[in-house]
């Protein structure tokens, strides 16, 4: 069976097409303003890359903050659920997932079966997301990829505010004026975000193996900072930004939309008759 998962996030669309669990094609691109159109266009490209036609795909499941905009999807699953399914497929020993994307950072505690047990989100704040990294890289006048390499060369830790992306940017400018090296500033930025994300992860509790996914996981400078903050090893799968889409494709293959989840029937004591 051929399935597809489409993860439509705040900044990027990621698509994975699988056949009987094996990945046939991956495609990613910017979401832009018209998310539905972006998803449609990239899906067409993914099909072409896989040598498939639309009718070859049995089921499509969407996820991500704009997953519901994918008109041609057979269904939608929450993004944390997609993350869980994708991660457990790649790293069965995973128990804690840290997903840092463009607009949201979240930590997810999962069961050995890939069920979401608990989650915590860095809500309504850019300071723990890829947007923070982008903003700081512009302030440093260094591409994000270069910033990642620079931070790995740093040998000193400089505390930096991570409570607000605006204040953080202003702080970077101050550090530049103080002639702090770019590598040290780059590390300070990563340490600041790692501190924030580490706090979110501790809300759900850190249990090995800790796996990081999402676009920011491609930043080795940030991953190193996160390991230092957590005091633990952090695994990063290949193409970490495609894991959500893989999870959605896995859900599509499993026919998750057709699962009949029985309503919980709770057998409890009832209040004694006549008791006030």
């Amino acid at each position: 069976m051929i399935s597809a998962g489409i993860d439509v996030g705040g900044k990027n669309v990621h698509i994975v097409i699988t056949k009987n669990g094996t990945i046939l094609a991956k495609m990613g691109g910017p979401t832009g303003i018209n998310k539905a159109e972006a998803a449609e266009k990239l899906y067409a490209e993914a099909l072409k890359k896989a040598g498939l036609k639309r009718e070859d795909v049995t089921r499509v499941v969407a996820t991500g903050s704009s997953g519901p905009r994918v008109a041609f999807a057979n269904g939608v699953i929450p993004d944390a659920a997609a993350d869980a399914r994708g991660v457990i497929k790649l790293i069965p020993s995973a128990r804690t997932i840290i997903d840092v994307g463009g607009e949201e950072g979240r930590a997810i505690k999962i069961s050995p079966e890939g069920k979401v047990l608990d989650f915590a989100i860095n809500e309504r704040c850019a300071a723990g997301t890829g947007t923070f990294v982008d903003t700081m890289s512009r302030a440093l006048e260094v591409p994000v990829e270069e910033m990642a390499k620079l931070s790995l060369k740093s040998t000193q830790s400089i505390p930096m505010n991570a409570q607000c992306a605006v204040f953080g940017e202003s702080e970077v400018v101050s550090l530049i004026h103080q002639k702090t090296s770019k590598q040290d500033i780059a590390r300070a930025v990563h340490d600041a975000i790692a501190g924030r994300i580490g706090s979110v992860a501790r809300i759900v509790g850190l249990e090995k193996d800790v796996v990081m996914i999402g676009g920011v996981a491609k930043n080795p400078g940030f991953v190193e900072s996160l390991k230092r903050d957590l005091g633990m090893e952090v695994k990063v799968p290949d193409d970490p930004d495609f894991v959500g889409a893989l999870g959605a494709a896995t859900a599509a293959a499993a026919g998750v939309l057709e699962e009949k989840v029985q309503a919980k029937v709770v057998e409890k004591e009832t209040i004694e008759e006549g008791k006030a």
């Binding site: 699953i77 047990l117 309504r124 989840v261 309503a263």
Partner: protein, 439 residues
């Protein structure tokens, strides 16, 4: 076919009528030669309401919440408060609504801001300590002001010394009232007001206790509209009558006849803190999954009085009749009022530490047979948002799944409805494993 019968409350219209009348009376008070006062909702309205003649109060928090129920209105009032007074956005959302209302000279229920004749305030939190002081400044600084402290200790630490501490202040308060208004406190009125307060607070608790039934006869969204009367004027005979003789018997009847709040109840949830008032639709969204929010320390104890019995269970505080007490005189009334509030209002306990909140919440979760908890991390109220993450851990240790969402009780700029619904979808479908039972 639905699992349970449902039915609207027969006393619903009476509740609406009482609330509407309260605000109308405050607005029109001066036209009738009546006095107006401003003060806190949490306690002690029995005293100013015992003055000779007609007296009407405006309690701050329900007024702030009423504004909060209208997202457009609250933004306008908050921006007025922030713009005029430069107050920070992390201050109490109700307070910012209230100040904004005065700054704009608007009464949220229509017309100009009705200025009070005196202020009778209790210091239940740092916000309340300054709230009406600043309100007075905004209005010209000439409103007689009295405040008293109730930070006497948690409910299990209340003895004669603590009661005396509050009673002596209340006696000073009576001196203040008589001087400021040139009217006397009428002991018969005071005694009746304290009787009414006991009835309001104890019978609301008894009503909440009935929600232990399966199916729950009430859901929290409905309960918000019912407890609020006690925050307006728990010392009023009509409100005491409502709780004792209308609401409580009707909810008892619903339990006996298995009339549910949610027709397809399949999951009972423990809440916490005030909800985002402008977005109560999230409770209706939960109902699509058969989820009913049955309990919270906030809803139970903002006006309800409780005690921990010998078996360690949370039970309603006994009424004066149940205690076999007849109020003798002014001093007896004040002592009983202070004792009831200090010992019975468990909502004050979290101010004394997370352990208190966790212990009470654990009892609620067990006794009200909760399956999960959804906690509103309320940026608008530091008081009720205390210890929420500790509560999350404590409830998880009971084996209950817990979800949190960030928001603000009365500042819509800090609540993302779409995102919250996404989190709810994740929690209920993945963690709780539920499917929608209604559209």
């Amino acid at each position: 076919m639905a699992k349970y019968k449902i039915k609207g409350l027969d006393c619903w219209n009476r509740a609406k009528e009482l609330r509407a009348r309260y605000y109308k009376d405050y607005q029109e008070a001066h036209q009738r030669g009546a006095l107006r006062w401003e003060g806190g909702a949490w306690s002690f309205d029995a005293i100013p309401q015992a003055l000779e003649g007609e007296v009407h109060g405006l309690t701050e928090e329900p007024y702030g919440a009423s504004i909060g129920a209208d997202p457009a209105l609250q933004v306008r009032y908050q921006e007025a408060a922030e713009g005029k007074w430069g107050c920070a956005r992390d201050l109490c959302a109700y307070l910012r609504n209230y100040w904004g209302s005065i700054v704009l000279n608007e009464f949220a229920f229509g017309g100009e801001w009705p200025k009070a004749d005196f202020i009778f305030q209790n210091h239940i939190c740092c916000t309340h300590a300054k709230w009406l002081q600043v309100a007075d400044e905004i209005e010209g600084g000439d409103i007689p002001y009295f405040c008293f402290d109730v930070g006497a200790g948690a409910y299990d630490k209340i003895g004669e010394r603590q009661i005396n501490y509050v009673v002596e202040q209340l006696q000073d308060g009576i001196d203040f009232l008589e001087k400021a208004t040139k009217r006397k406190i009428v002991d018969e009125k005071l005694i009746q007001n304290v009787q009414n307060t006991y009835d309001s607070c104890c019978y609301w608790a008894k009503t909440c206790e009935l929600n232990q039934a399966i199916p729950a006869p009430l859901d929290e969204k409905t309960m918000f509209s019912l407890y609020v009367l006690g925050t307006l004027e728990k010392s009023h005979k009509d409100i005491a009558d409502f709780y004792k003789n209308r609401l409580y018997p009707e909810v008892k009847d619903r339990v006996a006849n298995k009339i549910a709040a949610v027709a397809d109840e399949q999951c009972r949830v423990l809440g916490d803190s005030q909800p985002p008032w402008g977005f109560l639709s999230i409770f209706r969204y939960l109902e699509k999954y058969g989820i009913v929010s049955v309990a919270s320390l906030y809803t139970f104890s903002l006006i309800g009085w409780w005690k921990i019995d010998k078996a360690g269970k949370l039970v309603p505080y006994p009424t004066l009749e149940e205690q076999g007490i007849t109020i003798k005189d002014r001093d007896h009334a004040l002592r009983l009022l202070a004792e009831g509030e200090l010992k019975g209002k468990l909502m004050w306990a979290p101010f004394y530490g997370a352990k208190y909140k966790n212990d009470i919440v654990a009892k609620i979760a067990k006794q009200w047979k909760c399956d999960a908890s959804i906690i509103h991390l309320n940026r608008g109220c530091e008081g009720t948002a205390q210890h929420q993450m500790e509560m999350k851990i404590a409830v998880q240790k009971l084996g209950l799944p817990v979800m949190t969402f960030e928001g603000n009780m009365a500042d819509e700029r800090e609540f993302d409805e779409g995102r919250t619904k996404r989190f709810i979808d994740l929690f209920v479908t993945e963690t709780l494993g539920l499917k929608k039972v209604a559209e």
